[in-house]
Symmetry: C2
Subunit: 107 residues, 2 copies
């Protein structure tokens, strides 16, 4: 199982419209990617605090998609990449950091 | 519900001993933090690929603890902070990026 993490840097002065993200972008993403048989789940988190006392979070938002394999994710995502990536500018002006992870442990 | 994310930067030349992390550090962390009634779960992921083709992952490893509240996490963690933080140098020479997130959506 793999987890695709999409992290939005909390760059000072940057914009992140959580309302649009939660009510328009994510429902559409889940509709499109969740239709693939390799889809296993998704979570969205809002950054609240950094590690040091009173430090801002490094990321404004994190989104984690779980898929059976990286190939399944790519097969689910690629047909919809233009629409989903084209939507990013509607809710943020930062470029997300994306990485593919192997899930090693879940409790 | 909150998620505490601990991200280990994949700095070029840095060290990350996944064997020690998975077989010594994480079992002990789960033993100590999982005993708190506010503990809801944990996952560990190993970075495989970055977002661009053939790009290395930004993070060598990610660990996400789920707790009922940030207060519960702090109550669970603080008594064991010296032991758990003191163990980090045994598996890596990078400083983890830590942030506390509010969970907005889980599917």
């Amino acid at each position: 199982m793999v987890r695709i993490s999409i992290l939005y840097p909390n760059t000072p002065g940057s914009r992140f419209d959580f309302d649009y993200y939660m009510h328009t972008h994510m429902p559409r993403s889940i509709e499109l990617l969740g239709a693939h048989p390799g889809f296993r789940g998704v979570s969205v988190e809002k950054g609240v605090l950094g590690g040091a006392p009173d430090a801002p979070p490094a990321y404004a938002a994190m989104c984690h998609f779980t898929f059976e394999s990286a190939e399944d994710f790519m097969a689910a995502f690629m047909p919809h990449a233009p629409e989903l990536q084209g939507d990013i500018a509607r809710y943020t002006d930062v470029a997300p950091l994306i990485q593919i992870n192997q899930i090693m442990l879940v409790r």
